[in-house]
């Protein structure tokens, strides 16, 4: 397809933002951002609180517009198709672009029912097929061994870290192509965080992952690309090692070295 990517170690663009500007009412949260998310790579978005990190990734699955009055300019291309086009089916978009939220938000149902929630929405009711999806998703989210004997227990009885992995399994169960993670470890302790990080490392073999994080060490550890956002603008976007060792921008360097933020 794209010659540039073929020459450059076979990386393919999955999601591409073109001049994206995003308003909540009159407030401009994102200002003219253009960047790409690559297939089978982890892209981290870092920046101080309120800089528009979450808004940026939520613009991809259009989840903000459920609770907010939003206005969008520019394009978000998923496989070269603008998700803000009129003919886009939101249900299909959100199936293809899964999301894990800041706080674990399992449904107050059993572990099993949480995982099959998505497939059931799309009409999968075959018990055997659902069982397979549950085992597959929970295995992928590294939770299967811990919960396989108590799938009918309430999801609320799990620990915070387990709940977050369950939420990841729930997102994987509808077979997405892109996984958006909005500070998935911010409500977790260090051990649980480490497990999620390992998991992300593993999941990137199959998915395009965009992760928002407050934690710069985390971005450095798990991501391939990093974008630094400040006041709704993309200050710098590059390969993670370059951003952390040799940033182009003085502001980026100041933020990474902890002078502000």
């Amino acid at each position: 397809m794209n010659t540039r990517h073929k020459t450059k170690e076979q990386i393919k663009t999955k999601v591409k933002l073109e001049g994206l500007t995003f308003y909540y009412g009159k407030y401009k949260a994102i200002d003219n951002i253009s960047m790409e998310f690559f297939e089978c790579k982890v892209t981290a978005i870092i920046g101080p609180s309120g800089c528009g990190k979450s808004t940026l990734i939520k613009a991809i699955n259009r989840i903000s517009e459920i609770t907010n009055d939003v206005k969008v300019e520019g394009k978000v291309l998923l496989d070269n198709k603008n998700v803000y086009d009129r003919d886009v089916d939101l249900v299909d978009l959100r199936r293809r672009v899964g999301m894990v939220f800041q706080r674990p938000n399992p449904f107050p149902k059993s572990i099993y029912d949480n995982v099959v929630f998505g497939p059931r929405l799309f009409g999968v009711n075959n018990k055997k097929q659902l069982d397979e999806i549950v085992e597959y998703s929970l295995t992928k989210s590294a939770l299967w061994n811990e919960v396989k004997d108590r799938l009918n227990h309430s999801a609320i009885s799990l620990s915070g870290g387990q709940q977050q992995r369950l939420c990841i399994a729930r997102a994987l169960a509808v077979d997405p192509e892109v996984l958006l993670m909005d500070e998935p470890c911010s409500a977790l302790d260090p051990t649980a965080t480490a497990r999620i990080e390992e998991l992300i490392e593993d999941l990137k073999k199959y998915y395009t992952i965009a992760i928002v994080t407050h934690n710069m060490q985390q971005a450095a550890r798990i991501s391939d690309y990093t974008g630094f956002l400040l006041n709704g603008q993309l200050m710098e976007y590059n390969i993670t090692t370059d951003i952390f060792t040799n940033p182009d921008n003085k502001v980026t360097e100041d933020y990474i070295t902890g002078r502000f933020g």
Partner: protein, 309 residues
């Protein structure tokens, strides 16, 4: 000096609140005690299971008990789906814009309409307009266009609708946004979110609405006065299905009702002395029955809450 004044005022205010609360509770207790001691004596199995005789001065009140249960259940069956639907529409499909505000204001005003107005509306709308209309279209001589249990229950349902809508709306609003987001992010449609996430979460809140409306509706007299309640009926509003001989409640029949029974015995009886114990007994049964109906819904609610965990 100033500190002392403040303290006195504080003590006075506390005393005032306590006094008021005490007053309210003692009135309630006085009523219950009076009714209990006045009515407990006449409550026998015969009183509960037989029909009135000798111009209501003797016998039991079974038809009124039966009628009250029928009409309350029928009212709930009609009011709950309509109320839930309205509340879902208000919370999920309208925001704070003009239409939502207008509907909310209307509901609040509806809650303040006197019950006798509902009764007259029931006659005008349900019996004369809907009922007669159905009769004409279907070619019946007189089936729907007269005061019957169906219209009495519908009128009561209208009366309790605001209660159900408001409590259901509160219950729906208390479902965390994070759960809605989670469902939307998995590709759920709005209806799927409501059906699979919001309603199951709001179930016990909705049942609270049912409890409040039973308490309100079961004891009402004015709305059923003209819409189907009878002074005295020699038979129960029951219809036997031919051939299979299964008796079912007939919503196209008139019925007797405890609240109306109390009203007529207190105002229309020629022998007040003879009916007084029966009045107390009937009142006690009405209070007890309302309590039992509520209890059954409360048990439902406990069951749902347990299952949620």
């Amino acid at each position: 000096m100033i500190i002392k004044k403040r303290k006195i005022f504080n003590a006075f205010f506390q005393g005032l609140c306590f006094g008021m609360a005490f007053f309210v509770i003692s009135v309630l207790i006085a009523i219950l005690v009076r009714v209990f001691f006045g009515g407990a004596g006449v409550i026998t199995p015969g009183f509960l299971l037989k029909k009135p005789i000798e111009g209501m001065t003797a016998g039991g009140i079974f038809p009124a008990i039966f009628g009250t249960i029928c009409i309350t259940v029928l009212m709930i069956i009609m009011a709950i789906p309509a109320g839930i639907a309205a509340a879902i529409y208000l919370t999920e499909y309208t925001g704070k814009e003009f239409l939502g505000r207008v509907i909310r204001a209307s509901i609040n005003n509806l809650a303040g309409v006197p019950s006798i107005v509902f009764g007259l509306f029931g006659v005008g709308f349900f019996i004369l307009f809907v009922g007669r209309g159905v009769d004409r279209i279907m070619g019946f001589s007189l089936a729907f266009g007269q005061p019957v249990m169906l219209w009495a229950a519908a009128t009561l349902a209208l009366l309790v609708l605001p209660v159900i809508i408001v409590t259901t709306e509160e219950a729906l609003n208390s479902v965390p946004v994070s759960l809605r987001e989670a469902a939307f992010a998995l590709g759920a449609t709005k209806w799927q979110v409501v059906r699979n996430v919001v309603l199951p979460q709001a179930r016990s809140g909705i049942l609270t609405g049912a409890i409040l409306s039973i308490s309100r509706g079961a004891g009402e007299t004015a709305p059923i006065l003209f819409t189907g309640c009878a002074y005295f009926l020699p038979r129960l509003p029951v219809f036997t299905i031919p051939y299979v001989h299964i008796p079912v409640i007939n919503p196209l029949d008139q019925f007797m009702c405890l609240s109306y029974h109390i009203f007529i015995m207190a105002t229309q009886s020629t022998n007040i002395e003879a009916t007084r114990p029966i009045q107390y007994g009937t009142t006690l049964v009405l209070i007890g029955l309302t309590f039992l109906l509520n209890l059954s819904v409360i048990i439902f609610r406990i069951y749902f809450r347990k299952r949620q965990r």
